[in-house]
Subunit: 334 residues, 2 copies
């Protein structure tokens, strides 16, 4: 039986929604967690919900949402650090946190650590498109990257697409501004030849418009570019909905129309809802590390625990290690 | 009377829609163009439309959509090059083209040229948000940038927001991944202090989510990042509409609802429609250079001609030159 260490003190709705998420994961999916945080507060919620059988590990400290991420390495009594330590010591099989993203990344990279073959674990996100999903990575773990890092990200994305999204021989691209080889910034131009000689199914440059078009299964970029794209996309979604809502408000018929469309819109929203997909994985950490949205509710936490278990069930890290040895071009092995 | 040189042979619907756009601009807005391209083909359309009074300058060659942009500097008989030359020689007051974007940029930078105070003209786009518009630049003219370039872009964006969008004392930000000073990649970290000591209304780091939130009036980034964001945004819009449409198709009531909502949706679409805003300006070229979408129709061309005239009427370049002398910090004057 696997057990995921869940940081119960991180996130906007901690500990209430986080604890409830662990209960849901256990009751609905039979998945066990170790709840890390203030024993008394967590205990009260568990008691009220009649779930006192769940494991709790006490932690005194909390990492605040706006603290410098590096603080977590000094605050060794924090729920996040202790959850990471449980994983490192083999007492837990994965980590879920809705806390300070930078701090979760820091714990993932330096407390849990990455597998030997990988220099820098990236964060990958499977973005929806009309034909399926496209893995974009890195979306924020590594700001300034070298060509060899992007090459490794490509193998990580390949493994994610193949093992978790069930895509055979995933089509890999590098994000650039123009289709032809030779287009792009220095990093892209230097990475392209490495990808070309790798054993990946490398299709060449992907453009911004390919991210939501389903023309690639995996698109690599540095963590700066990926992060601004991810956040811009989220905000564009909000802006579009708000602008449509304002137009709809002006007309009775449009309001009626919106009402009739609601079930269809809800189906669509479900596809794009972060609470459904559960969180964003730090890919290639020694054990699954899932970073959920700061606004994560119980359902999001339940799904994050599910996702962590999926990575374990698919032996993601073993596959990734094999792929990093097998698919990388010999001359740039790190 | 100003006259805009219009490249009639560039774009997916050239010359038909381009010529019609020039006719619309003249008939609806009283704005004159010089139509550059195949005299015979253009003449036929003008004759059919009863608009033979419009000026035509013959050009033998055409720059194809997928030609390497640098070709345009050798193909001196192409409609695009000749249109640029008319501007450089003072025979036309601006340039509009729906052709090969890279080639239009090349003509803008090297044939028309930029104003003396500016090292590298950026492309700026005013993106809609629920509260108004935010200028994002550079969205593709300059791939690898230095801090001083981003600083100049900020002044260009400030001038665009103030003169063209009528925003007083525009709030300027630099695109990064995290709000605090010190967050971001090397380029951002090196540019931040320059912006801080400039006389701009600099608010600090903007995040991806700020692009469509209305929290900044101007956001600067390098042309690689800006371009992928712009193209990803376009494709996300398409993807969302298609996914919603698929959900709507599944239900009779949802289809009825969509029908009732249509006028409201059309109002929204108008706000986001490229044919309405006419094109993207290369900011700081000696005379207005407007790059329209390859799929530009007559309405888009008409609006691009209108936009070029707006830049002239607002004395954009004079203001920009003044601002570059006035707002830049002394120590980094170029």
């Amino acid at each position: 039986m696997t057990r995921i260490a869940v940081d119960c003190m991180g996130g906007d709705y901690a500990p209430e929604e986080i604890v409830k998420g662990c209960i849901l994961a256990y009751r609905e999916l039979g998945l066990e967690s170790i709840l890390v945080g203030d024993e008394e507060k967590i205990g009260k919620i568990l008691k009220r919900e009649g779930a006192e059988n769940l494991s709790v590990v006490h932690a005194e400290g909390i990492i605040q949402m706006h603290e410098p991420p590096s603080n977590v390495l000094r605050k060794k009594d924090s729920s996040l650090y202790i959850a990471g330590k449980l994983v490192r010591e083999g007492l837990a099989d994965g980590l879920v946190s809705a806390g300070n993203t930078g701090a979760v990344l820091t714990v993932g990279k330096f407390v849990v650590g990455s597998i030997d073959e990988l220099e820098r674990p990236p964060i990958g996100v499977a973005l929806p498109n009309p034909k399926g999903k496209t893995v974009l990575l890195d979306v924020g773990a590594n700001v300034d990257c070298k060509p060899k890092h992007l090459l490794q990200f490509a193998v990580v994305g390949h493994t994610y697409a193949e093992e978790i999204l069930n895509i055979k021989n995933p089509r890999v691209g590098i994000l650039s501004i123009g289709e032809e080889e030779g287009k792009g910034n220095e990093l892209v131009k230097d990475t392209y030849p490495l990808l070309k000689v790798s054993k990946l199914n490398f299709l060449g440059n992907a453009e911004g418009r390919d991210i939501y078009a389903g023309t690639f299964d995996v698109i690599v970029c540095d963590g700066f570019v990926g992060n601004v794209i991810l956040k811009a996309s989220e905000s564009l979604g909000f802006a579009v909905l708000q602008m449509i809502r304002e137009e709809v408000e002006k007309s009775f018929f449009a309001k009626l129309g919106a009402l009739l469309m609601k079930p269809a819109l809800n189906n669509f929203k479900k596809k794009a809802d972060f609470a459904e997909y559960g969180g964003i994985p730090l890919l290639g950490a020694k054990k699954p590390v899932i970073i959920t949205h700061g606004r994560a509710n119980a359902r999001a936490i339940k799904n994050a625990i599910r996702v962590a278990n999926e990575f374990l069930a698919h032996h993601f890290n073993e596959r990734l290690g094999e792929n990093l040895r097998r698919l990388m071009p010999q001359e740039v092995k790190v």
